[in-house]
Subunit: 332 residues, 2 copies
């Protein structure tokens, strides 16, 4: 049951420990003959390097953490999460780095987590869409732990992050509504302590400003119920509205329900656009026109930036914004 060690491989190959180590780590200064002998011995013995021993001396852990904060957990089943994690996984697989999933489910665990992350257990950290001015990324960077955020943070300036072009996507969506001749376009905005919330609202305003239409805003928290509530508020305030841009598909779903209940037809009376291009969007009645976001690409990009930083490279472009585009379905 005992795993072979470096020494065993060296003995088998008839070389010294150093040479085996060089072969494993891809040093060029090894003769072809020695390299071959070593590789053969490795294969024969089924040798696998002991990560702990290596970490102990190199101080690299070859591990990065994906931190999912408490608030995020609720949103766990949002479609963008699945895509992002898949992207992270595939980018990381190419580098041999391991991904550990760190979830802080309570404030006390949040401390434990910070301790863990700064305690040389990981080479870098990926943080997904945090709320408000979370001090974590700043502290990690201060302790020398490279960090890359998913989603533009609001209230702090992070060195490196990857985000969707939320503003551009929203602008496009609202322009589409305008182009269809809609005159009273409302928006159901997301929480304003998150970049996504702020940016999608900004995009809405961009488009309206260009056309000098009046703005009409209600806020939700990305949940369906909040979308329904916001829709009710909007209808009460402006019964004559003829279009709604919701900052998330889920909120759009809630809004759709309320619109129907109020006897309005979609898109006949009111056109509706969501954001996310989630699976749910394709299944509503009518199917939802929405803004597509490249979640998997975002994950890949985050991982790539982090890996570069871990390798000590200077990032040419520490902030990456990915394109979004409108997906036309029946609701607008």
């Amino acid at each position: 049951m005992n795993r072979p060690t470096l020494e065993a491989v060296a003995a088998r190959a008839g070389v010294g420990r150093g040479t085996v180590s060089r072969v494993i780590n891809g040093s060029p200064n090894v003769s072809a003959k020695a390299r071959e002998a070593v590789q053969e011995a490795i294969a024969e013995l089924g040798y696998v390097p002991n990560r702990a021993a290596r970490t102990l001396v190199t101080r690299r852990t070859d591990t990065v953490a994906l931190v999912v904060s408490e608030s995020e957990l609720r949103v766990f089943d949002e479609p963008y999460f699945a895509g992002t994690i898949r992207g992270i996984g595939s980018a990381l697989a190419e580098t041999g780095l391991q991904l550990i999933l760190a979830m802080a489910q309570s404030p006390s665990e949040h401390d434990r987590l910070e301790h863990y992350l700064t305690g040389q257990h990981v080479d870098g950290v990926l943080l997904l869409s945090l709320h408000g001015a979370d001090p974590l990324p700043g502290r990690l960077e201060a302790m020398g732990v490279p960090t890359v955020l998913g989603g533009r943070p609001v209230g702090l300036d992070a060195y490196s992050y990857v985000d969707m072009d939320n503003r551009g996507g929203a602008r496009q969506a609202v322009k589409h509504l305008l182009a269809q001749g809609r005159a009273h376009i409302a928006t159901i905005a997301g929480p304003q302590d998150m970049g996504v919330g702020v940016d999608r609202l900004a995009g809405y305003r961009d488009a309206l400003l260009a056309s000098r239409a009046e703005e009409l805003v209600a806020y939700g928290d990305f949940s369906e119920e909040s979308g329904a509530a916001a829709m009710r508020a909007l209808l009460a305030a402006s019964p004559g509205l003829d279009a709604v841009f919701a900052a998330s598909d889920l909120m759009a779903v809630g809004a759709l329900r309320v619109l129907k209940e109020s006897g309005r037809s979609v898109p006949g009376d009111v056109a509706l656009v969501g954001f996310e291009d989630s699976k749910a969007a394709a299944h509503t009645d009518p199917p939802l026109t929405t803004v597509h976001q490249p979640t998997e690409a975002m994950g890949r990009q985050m991982a790539q930036l982090l890996v570069a930083r871990i390798h000590g490279e200077e990032l040419r472009q520490p902030v990456v914004i990915l394109d979004t585009h409108l997906v036309l379905r029946a609701s607008a």
Copy 2:
């Protein structure tokens, strides 16, 4: 920037290395005075044990892997995944174990993964709903790596797994349809190389057998499209059917679409029941009656079983089946 070591703590506290180690690991054989001095020194220096050094000597990694196989990746955004992972996370957080997320995205990576998992990098492995007779769990156990599966495996006997009562849930769903006076009940079954697929079909048959009704089966792969295709096949074969039990919500969604397209009303002409109680189920029109499964509990349970095995405990009950129950909405 240099982290303090055990030795530094010992010096500060005026004791030997051994005593500090004993304090950290909770050995009872330490005088109150020494313990106090050590704890003070630890706090003052902000000492955090080096995991790699500890792993090197103990051969414990305090890490477990959650393996998500290639085929699983597609299903990543299925709601049960989010719930399960949350349950695993919360159960693990209580034990101090770390969760690493291992995804095999291609067959070649599958080998690499197996190598990794058996190469003393993790203390145990959690495997989520595998297809067919995957050799991985057997190999892991053979190498002495404790393994717990999520979902009953088909074609191999695993020592320990956690599953939902898929058969019971399906039986309940179909009985409900029978109780409503439905006489021609079809099912859209899942893939028969997965426990969920087999068991939900078995439950359907249980219920039909009791009532001596005729069975009517089509197969899908849990995707919406496959559900739609199966529904078309069923309608072609038996235009007079008046109820459908789909083995997943997503397939039910596909079936619902086809039923509507064929001019049938739901639940008027055809009653429809899904399985999973996913978010999507609540948003269809009409909302889907479905079988609820306790995903988070499943995750917790899996983690708990694994932890017990890692601690070398004999499992009183290595197989755990969790209850499911019917959620009545409008579609049946």
